[in-house]
């Protein structure tokens, strides 16, 4: 079982590195932001695996916090980083 956990952890780490490449390569801002989002989810998975592997239950709390706050960067990106002269259009958007 431990080996499986190790291999899964390594695979996830690999996915993490790929995600890093995605953030670097872009090309657009939206892509970078999304890649960062996925990066966070991958981190959550990694933390859950490590909690089992290292026998550290506290790591699940870390994963919980990470999952809770995962949305923050994207919301800040959408709310604030977008062109400042567009706020009026942003406000009355309906989905």
């Amino acid at each position: 079982m431990t080996q499986v956990l190790w291999i899964s952890t390594l695979l996830l780490l690999l996915a993490l590195l790929l995600g890093l490449w995605r953030i670097w390569a872009g090309p657009g801002r939206a892509d970078r932001m999304l890649a960062a989002q996925l990066f966070g989810t991958t981190g959550v998975g990694l933390l859950l695996l490590l909690a089992e592997l290292m026998q550290q239950p506290a790591l699940r709390d870390v994963a919980l916090v990470l999952a809770l706050l995962a949305i923050m960067a994207t919301v800040a990106f959408v709310a604030r980083t977008q062109p400042a002269d567009h706020h009026s259009e942003q406000d009355h958007d309906a989905d």
Partner: protein
């Protein structure tokens, strides 16, 4: 294997942050760096730091930076100065970096001979500290003096932010997201965040967690609330807000002085009640630090609307 991979990735990501041509890319890379740091702290057997890094490094700092980025978008005069000095600076930086690298390599690889075994000391005295979790014991008993001053440090940063804030009219111009989906999600996400914050606060006395991590989660909750364009309850009571900001430091000082006023030492907790006192201080700190961290975000000057140049502060009358 994991350790080597992580340890190698860290400087590479740092390089990415520093070399990114577009500033936005640098900031997103930095957010990813924060997350990697959280993983590194996990591997360094420091879950408390992983928690703090996940909440502060990947959460709040990222929001602060993205928020600032949004305000710095107008084109600025091209050709930043200092072109003439740049080659000189480059050489200087490289020489410095090289020297520092050699020195550090030497220092880091030197065999360690600690004259004191502090972890053993911590284990020896943890019983008397009133809490079971070593990091909390260090923060709120053994080295409470540092923690007290650190709260003051945040307060100073907030005060400077308040002092430099633009007038309130400008603040109305800032953008926010208004999406029904976001509102719907926040209606259960925010209470959940509050719950998790309280859980972290409580669990800090015997496991990883504590005031700072709890405060960071709570601050994130307030920031999300603000980003989604909602009013904070009590936002229009400046005195209440001020009281909240100084409340943590005040409570810490007050409870720390209880023994002092009875002839004991400052920051010594009463023998039987040490655990209760620490929990009390931590609770006050959590709420106050959350407000402070939120204020770090909120106090930053809002952008001026076009045609309304910001007030430039005082002119002698």
């Amino acid at each position: 294997m994991i350790d080597l991979l992580l340890a190698l990735t860290l400087p590479l990501v740092a390089l990415g942050v520093l070399l990114a041509r577009e500033l936005f890319r640098a900031v997103v890379m930095f957010i990813a760096f924060g997350l990697l740091m959280a993983l590194v702290w996990v591997r360094l057997q420091a879950p408390d730091l992983a928690l703090a890094e996940a909440a502060i490094g990947a959460g709040l700092t990222g929001v602060l930076l993205l928020d600032a980025l949004g305000h710095l978008r107008q084109p600025h005069p091209p050709g930043q100065p200092l072109r003439s000095l740049l080659p000189l600076l480059t050489i200087l930086a490289l020489v410095l970096a090289g020297a520092l690298g050699l020195v550090l390599l030497g220092a880091l690889l030197e065999p360690l001979q600690p004259s004191v075994n502090l972890p053993a000391e911590v284990a020896l005295h943890i019983e008397a500290s009133g809490v079971a979790h070593p990091v909390t014991a260090v923060l709120l008993a053994f080295r409470a003096w540092d923690t007290l001053l650190e709260v003051a440090v945040i307060l100073v940063a907030v005060v400077v932010g308040l002092a430099l804030r633009f007038s309130h009219d400008d603040a109305a111009a800032e953008s926010r997201v208004s999406s029904p989906l976001l509102q719907g999600m926040l209606s259960w996400l925010l209470p959940l965040m509050l719950l998790v914050a309280l859980y972290l606060l409580w669990i800090g006395s015997y496991r990883s967690g504590g005031a700072f991590q709890a405060a960071a989660v709570m601050a994130a909750m307030l920031v999300l609330l603000r980003l989604s364009g909602q009013q904070l309850p009590g936002q229009n009571h400046p005195l209440l807000l001020r009281a909240g900001l100084v409340g943590g430091l005040g409570t810490f000082l007050l409870l720390g002085s209880v023994q002092l006023l009875q002839g004991g030492a400052f920051l010594a907790w009463p023998e039987q009640l040490a655990g209760a006192f620490i929990l009390l201080v931590e609770t006050a700190l959590t709420f106050s630090l959350a407000l402070l961290l939120y204020a770090l975000f909120e106090a930053s000057p809002a952008p001026a609307r076009k045609g309304h140049p910001p007030r430039t502060g005082d002119q002698p009358s």
